[in-house]
Symmetry: C2
C-alpha cells in the first residue's frame, strides 16, 4: 500500500466512541483520511463490510480501517498498524510492545467505563439497568479509577514524566488524553478527588491538548461532542462521590 493512499476509517458517525482513538492518531499525524460513515451513503458501505460481504476477514464490530486492500479491526490492532506509518511509536520492537501494552490497558479501562452505564447488557437501554449502573459506578469511582490512574501515573514516572513510553509522543499518549478527558466529563467528582495524586497525567493531558493539530481538531466540526450515546456519558446520578 502506498504511503500516500488515504486511510478509510469506519465507525458510527454520531459518537466519539472507540473510533476516537483512531481519529486522534490520524489527526495528530496530519494523515489523509476519510471518516467513511459520515459521508453520504457511507453507512451502507460500513454495513456491507460488517456483514462480511467482502473478500476480506470480516470485523466483529466498528471501528475498522481500510488502507488499500488491507481491512483490519480492533482499536489496538489498528493503532499497531498505524503507529510506525504515522510515526507515533518508538522505533524497535520493545518500544512498540510497550505502547501496545499501555493501549490495551487503556482499552480495558474504557470497557469498564462503558459498563458503568451498561452493567447488564449492551443490548438494553441505560434506563433499563439504572440500579445496577449506580452500584457498578460506585465501585468504579472508588476502586477502579484510583487503581488505573495510579498505574498510569507510575508508567509516566517510570518513563521520565513527559510521555507514556519513550522520548516522543506515541498513540498511547493520545489515547490517555482521550480517556482522561472522557473521565473528567463523566465522573467530575471522582476525577477531582484523584487529581492531586496524578500530577503527571494532568500535565500530559494539557500537553496533548496543546499540540497544534490536536488543538485544531478539537476546535473543528470533525470532533464529535460527547453525548448520551457514547462511552463517556454525563449522568449526574452515576457521578458518585468516591469518598462517601
Amino acid at each position: 500500500v502506498s504511503a500516500t493512499t488515504s486511510y478509510e476509517l469506519f465507525y458510527w458517525p454520531s459518537i466519539q466512541g472507540r473510533g476516537e482513538f483512531v481519529r486522534l492518531a490520524l489527526e495528530e499525524a496530519g494523515a489523509s483520511y476519510v471518516d467513511v460513515a459520515r459521508r453520504p451513503d457511507g453507512m451502507k458501505e460500513m454495513m456491507k463490510l460488517l456483514r462480511g460481504d467482502a473478500s476480506t476477514l470480516p470485523p466483529f464490530a466498528p471501528p475498522f480501517l481500510r488502507h488499500g486492500k488491507v481491512v483490519l479491526a480492533q482499536v489496538s490492532n489498528i493503532l499497531e498498524y498505524l503507529g510506525p506509518r504515522l510515526d507515533l511509536v518508538p522505533e524497535g520492537e520493545a518500544g512498540r510492545m510497550a505502547v501496545n501494552q499501555i493501549q490495551l490497558t487503556i482499552s480495558d479501562l474504557v470497557s469498564e467505563v462503558h459498563d458503568t452505564h451498561h452493567p447488564i447488557a449492551s443490548g438494553l437501554y441505560y434506563e433499563d439497568q439504572k440500579p445496577e449502573a449506580a452500584r457498578r459506578s460506585k465501585a468504579f469511582v472508588s476502586e477502579r479509577i484510583p487503581k488505573y490512574l495510579g498505574y498510569f501515573e507510575r508508567v509516566l514516572e517510570h518513563g521520565g514524566g513527559e510521555w507514556m513510553v519513550g522520548k516522543a509522543i506515541s498513540y498511547a499518549d493520545l489515547s490517555m488524553f482521550q480517556t482522561l478527558t472522557g473521565l473528567a466529563h463523566s465522573f467530575p467528582k471522582a476525577m477531582g478527588h484523584v487529581k492531586p495524586s496524578i500530577p503527571l497525567l494532568g500535565a500530559l493531558r494539557e500537553r496533548v491538548a496543546a499540540r497544534p493539530r490536536i488543538a485544531a481538531y478539537l476546535a473543528s466540526e470533525r470532533r464529535i461532542p460527547f453525548s448520551a450515546q457514547g462511552i463517556f456519558r454525563a449522568y449526574p446520578e452515576l457521578d458518585l462521590d468516591p469518598s462517601t
Copy 2:
C-alpha cells in the same frame, strides 16, 4: 534474547484464567518455559514485578512474560511477541494482524464471561452480586454467545474451515479452543443450543484437543482444572436456557 532462553510466565498459580492463553501457546510449541508463581517463592517474585520494583515497565496485572530482559504484559501483546518465535502465526504483517484481531475479539468475549459472575465489581465476591449476575448471564447466553460464536464460525468459513487464519494452526486457534472449552464448562445449556449452528468451531475444538502436545498437556498436572475462582465457572444458576 537467545531463542534458547527460557520463557518465564507470571500468573496466579491456582487458576487457568487469562494465563491459560499463554500456556497453551507455549505448550503447543514445546517451548521451554517456567510457570514462575507455581514454584516455591515464585509468588514473591511475581508481586515484586507487579509493584514496579524493577527497572522494566510495570504491568497492570498478570499475566506477564519475561524473556531475558524483556518484560511484557497483556495477553494479546504477549502472544504477538511469542507468535513468530513459536511459529504460531502466518508469515507477513497481514496474517499477523488478522490473528491479533481474532485474539482481541476472543479477549473481549472472555471479559464478558468474567462479568457474568462479576457484573458489579471484581473486588466483590460473586455471592455479593448474584441477582445482577443472573440478569447479565441471561443476556449473555441469549444474545452474546450466539453473536460471538456466529462471528467466529464466519471467520472459519472465510478461511476455508480448518484454521481461524491462514493454512496452519495459530495461537488464535488455541485461544478459540480454550474459550469453547470454557464456555461448554460454564454454559452447557447455551452451548447445546448453539451447537448445530457452529459445526466448524466444534470441529476446530476437537482438532486442537487432538494435537499431540496439547493432548499431553491437558492430561498433565500442568493443566490447572476449572474452578470457582477462575473466569470459566460452573454455577448452575447462571447456566440459563437461552430459549426461554
